[in-house]
């Protein structure tokens, strides 16, 4: 079955949004890094608009140019000032709680979309690609919320371009970090980094003790997730390398409990690593924090406490049920 709306449709929309930023910077004579910044966003836009047609090697080359521009500090934010506080307060007093409506539309329509849009069909055509329902629903919800926000505020069309560009430039080059880390994770997997890590863990620990097997598995998930920035990538490697042979086969543990709690041990690792950029680094930029590791620092006590409790829970549950 074919779909009317696929992820590709949304990528075109994203490409156009990013192109607006590139053009805006190119036309801004006060921008401190006009050429470099404009080029960065233009290349990013190309990966959305033409990512499917350009051979991967050339996309890789474009990506490396983007990395170099960022490394030489050529990608910076503009000098555009935020709207003065008095003006924002005046608007808030006028619009009152109506201002929340568009913001609430995003979760509301994402839920409606997830539940309903996936089922809408016209003959042989599905409205949205059934495999990507949540992502496409989020995009549809964002479009509805955008229209609503323009209606509620009665803003001119240049406002979303100006404000969106200002906020995205504040995030800056970190916006491509999650995709780059996904690539690094892929290269690590293909190069067999995981097998080396799981070999080391099972070599140095006396895993013939049932508790040590649990500890080795949980630590493996934690450490490997810290390295990869992604618990899903760690799961197959560490469960195949440590969990299955030691906890399930050697000590007769319950695989469902092992997997459920093992994944949580990995999530504790996600809370601790700058490699999980979209959860830890990008939010620090979004919230305009001076310390880029502030989110991780706030999470360290939570992650370590949950890790200890989770490991003990696994030890008590995995061998008894």
């Amino acid at each position: 079955m074919k779909s009317i709306l696929t992820l590709d449709t949304i990528y075109y929309l994203l490409g156009i949004i990013v192109a607006f930023i590139a053009i805006r910077i190119a036309r801004d004579p006060n921008h401190p890094n006009r050429l470099g910044s404009s080029l960065f966003w233009a290349l990013f836009s190309i990966t959305f608009l033409f990512g499917n047609v350009i051979p991967p090697f050339y996309v890789g080359c474009l990506v490396i140019i983007m990395v170099l521009l960022a490394s030489f500090n050529r990608v910076t934010k503009s000098n555009e000032a935020e709207t003065p506080a008095e003006e924002r307060v005046a608007h808030a007093q006028r619009l009152k709680n109506k201002i929340f409506l568009p913001a609430l539309f995003i979760p509301i329509f994402t839920i409606i979309g997830t539940l309903l849009f996936g089922k809408i069909k016209f003959g042989n055509w599905a409205l949205i690609d059934p495999e990507k329902v949540t992502l496409i629903s989020l995009a549809i919800a964002a479009v509805i919320a955008f229209i609503a926000s323009m209606g509620v505020t009665k803003a001119k069309m240049d406002v979303p371009v100006k404000e969106g560009s200002r906020l995205l430039q504040a995030v800056g080059w970190a916006v491509i970090l999650p995709q780059m880390l996904a690539a690094l994770g892929g290269i690590f997997s293909k190069s067999g980094v995981g097998t080396v890590v799981s070999d080391i863990v099972s070599d140095v620990l006396p895993t013939n003790y049932a508790f040590v097997a649990v500890l080795a598995y949980c630590l493996g998930m934690l450490l490997f997730t810290i390295v990869m920035g992604n618990a899903f990538a760690a799961f197959a490697v560490i469960t195949g390398g440590i969990g299955l042979p030691l906890i399930v086969h050697m000590h007769g543990g319950n695989p469902a409990i092992m997997a459920a709690l093992g994944m949580f041990a990995g999530y504790c690792g996600t809370l601790l690593t700058p490699m999980a950029a979209n959860f830890n680094v990008v939010p620090a930029m979004l919230l305009e924090l001076k310390d880029k590791n502030a989110v991780i620092k706030a999470q360290v006590p939570i992650a370590l406490s949950v890790f200890v409790i989770n490991t003990l829970l696994m030890y008590y549950l995995v061998y008894h049920f």
């Binding site: 992820l7 924002r88 808030a92 979303p160 969106g164 997997a259 809370l271």
Partner: protein, 234 residues
């Protein structure tokens, strides 16, 4: 062992605060090369993974223009007005309520929230607003503390709620893995055994948010925010 050089490069890069993009790219290229891939192959992999994972930037690119408009028209300010009406609202309580909603909704399969969609426009301003209503203007260090914990609430709620629902990526990945090695595992078993850890994550976060409230109270009552708060911010 040589393959671990990429891991070492990443650690060193983060330690010396080099540009993260550069560190990641160099680590990928070096790891690929020592594992026998050609430079052409490594660059191709970067390109392929970059294109395959474009959905990762979607939420930010789509929602920031909307919140840019709403923030210009007083979204954050109105969020503060709203929170000031609530009695007994504190920064920690706001974050705990958000964490609770995020974790429960994730546990029934709903992905509402997100750093760009909820934390920046609503949760962080409300949490800051609650403290400002009590103590007046906040020094930068206190603001940073509150905002970082707002991001932590989002991550903790989402991670530990998500795997309670059977149709999420995590559970399906585990199921797929066990299928591939020929072990039958029920998805409900994996989802339900996650509940004790999910509850403990909630309880520990509640303690952490209580501590945040105490820290704010101590800072704001001990000495009024003056120029001294700036010097310790580094």
């Amino acid at each position: 062992m040589l393959k671990l050089i990429g891991v070492l490069l990443v650690a060193v890069g983060f330690l010396f605060r080099l540009n993260t993009l550069l560190v990641v790219t160099v680590a990928g290229i070096v790891t690929g090369l020592v594992s026998g891939l050609s430079l052409h192959e490594v660059i191709t992999m970067f390109g392929q993974f970059f294109v395959d994972n474009r959905y990762m930037s979607m939420a930010i690119l789509l929602t920031l223009p909307i919140f840019g408009v709403l923030e210009k028209y007083g979204l954050k300010e109105q969020a503060e007005v709203l929170i000031k009406k609530a009695k007994n609202a504190s920064s920690g309580n706001v974050l705990l309520i958000y964490l609770f909603i995020r974790e429960i909704s994730a546990a029934v399969g709903l992905n509402i929230g997100g750093h760009a969609q909820s934390v920046r426009p609503l949760v962080a301003p409300m949490s800051e607003g609650a403290a400002r209503a009590k103590y007046g203007e906040l020094p930068p260090k206190v603001k940073e503390d509150i905002r970082a914990h707002a991001a932590a609430a989002e991550n903790t709620g989402w991670f530990f709620g998500e795997d309670i629902f059977i149709a999420t990526g995590g559970i399906l990945l585990m199921k797929g893995f066990f299928d591939s090695v020929g072990i039958h595992v029920d998805v409900w078993d994996m989802a339900l055994w996650g509940i004790p850890t999910a509850i403990s994550a909630l309880v520990i976060s509640a303690i952490r948010f209580r501590q945040l409230d105490r820290r704010i109270h101590k800072k704001m009552t001990k000495h009024k925010p003056t120029s001294s708060s700036k010097t310790e911010a580094s």
